[in-house]
Symmetry: C2
Subunit: 232 residues, 2 copies
DNA sequence: TCTAGTCACGAACACTGTTCTAATGACGAG
DNA sequence: CTCGTCATTAGAACAGTGTTCGTGACTAGA
């Protein structure tokens, strides 16, 4: 008998006759949950099969009975992420804000788990939850009177932009990791100002505008641009 | 004396008195060139320090005398990529097509080296060539009468979209690698049609529109959307 | 000719995803 | 109650990755 099993039996003396199983079984849900916790706490780079396994108190091989690849784990994560986004029921009068609302919800989810948008961009989302998101946005846009082809392309562009924006923001915050520290707003402006004015006249002149957008102003601006020209 | 050195001396007998050095020295330019060749031939996943080193006929440690990180190599690559994009001299009458032209040039460069846009998205581009690109686009937009703040944000959005679009296209073509093969246009439509119509009515109804955009129609459409609302 | 210094490179470390293997556990059949 | 089947688990290992250490060789200067 293995020593840990022996210790487990001793520990089980206080809990009555084998009520709870010693180890809760590994399920896909538990894997996804610990993966989410890992990404939320330490960022997407910390999402490793080994980290997930050791957090679950086991070895990496045990995960592959429930998940085929790490790519599939990524798909499960962004699927669960998309499932948390709930598009509103289409209201033709407010279709623009409704689309922006969906994008904001998705962006907030991406921001909650730093760097996870890399997984969203790196894998063609095949989960049904992602399709459900597309369905919701399509319903809103069609109700707003947008032509189907334009609506479909606009959805693709918006989702792509949300992912790219979140990815850029995440690695701008997380500061590249090793040596490059986070450049504050003023430092960026100063760097642009340092450039030779004969070669980069406009960048030097408009350094503040280039570095602006602390909150989500840039995000809202781009979405307005994307949605503004849909119904001419 | 080492045997290889001995053999090298023997081989040097035919070439006269030490005209060419036995091995061309490793330079940053040679590293970047072989890296470009590797990515062009086999995609960004094949870009490995070891692959670059062995292609150069040496070990991986030799690279780190000229390049600090792989991240720095990535920066050099996208810097060289941006340097190949030449914005036109601003023409106020044609500012929209001029911006589209810059984006198309960048897109073609991304497409030439499949997957390299991942490096562009994953690292905040700190090279001067990227700033030169921003300068060129800013000049065009300002000449077109776009307000500086809107111009700056539009440039950011456009560059972000070009990178995301190229990344998505590259891994849609390269087919995920292992088991997932490339889904043709008709297969995507059929998959959408397979969905339960009560849950996904709009997706089922407009499957062709969602799967459309074989060439760069989607790309052009999104850029028109982004640039259309800039001067209201 | 001797020395100094830069450059190159083999080996190694700490990781990663993934698979092979054996063994452990629970479950139903006899 | 015992036994056999079978899915689940986990240890070890393989082929990779980026990166660093220390030694070696070669070039250039005195």
């Amino acid at each position: 008998m293995a020593p840990d099993r022996w210790a487990a039996q001793i520990a089980a003396l206080d809990e009555g006759p084998r009520r709870a199983p010693r180890k809760p079984p590994i399920t896909v849900e538990r894997i996804v949950d610990t993966a989410f916790g890992l990404v939320e706490a330490e960022g997407y780079d910390a999402l490793t099969m080994r980290r997930v396994a050791t957090t679950l108190g086991t070895g990496p091989a045990s995960l592959y009975a429930h998940v085929r690849d790490k790519a599939e784990l990524d798909d499960l994560l962004i699927g669960a992420l998309c499932a948390r986004v709930t598009p509103q029921a289409p209201d033709p009068a407010r279709w623009r804000e409704q689309v922006v609302d969906v994008c904001r919800q998705l962006r907030d989810q991406y921001f909650r788990y730093p760097g996870i948008s890399r997984a969203a961009l790196a894998t063609a989302p095949e989960s049904l939850d992602a399709v459900r998101l597309t369905e919701g946005m399509l319903a809103i846009l069609l109700a707003g009177g947008v032509a189907p082809q334009r609506a479909a392309w606009a959805i693709d562009a918006a989702l792509l932009y949300v992912g790219a924006y979140s990815l850029e923001a995440s690695l701008r915050q997380h500061a590249g990791g090793t040596d490059r520290r986070r450049l504050g707003h003023d430092e960026i402006v100063e760097r642009f100002r340092m450039l030779p004015a004969d070669r980069f006249p406009h960048v030097v002149a408009h350094a503040p505008e280039l570095a602006a957008g602390d909150g989500h102003e840039r995000f809202d601006f781009t979405l307005e641009l994307l949605l503004g020209g849909l119904t001419p």
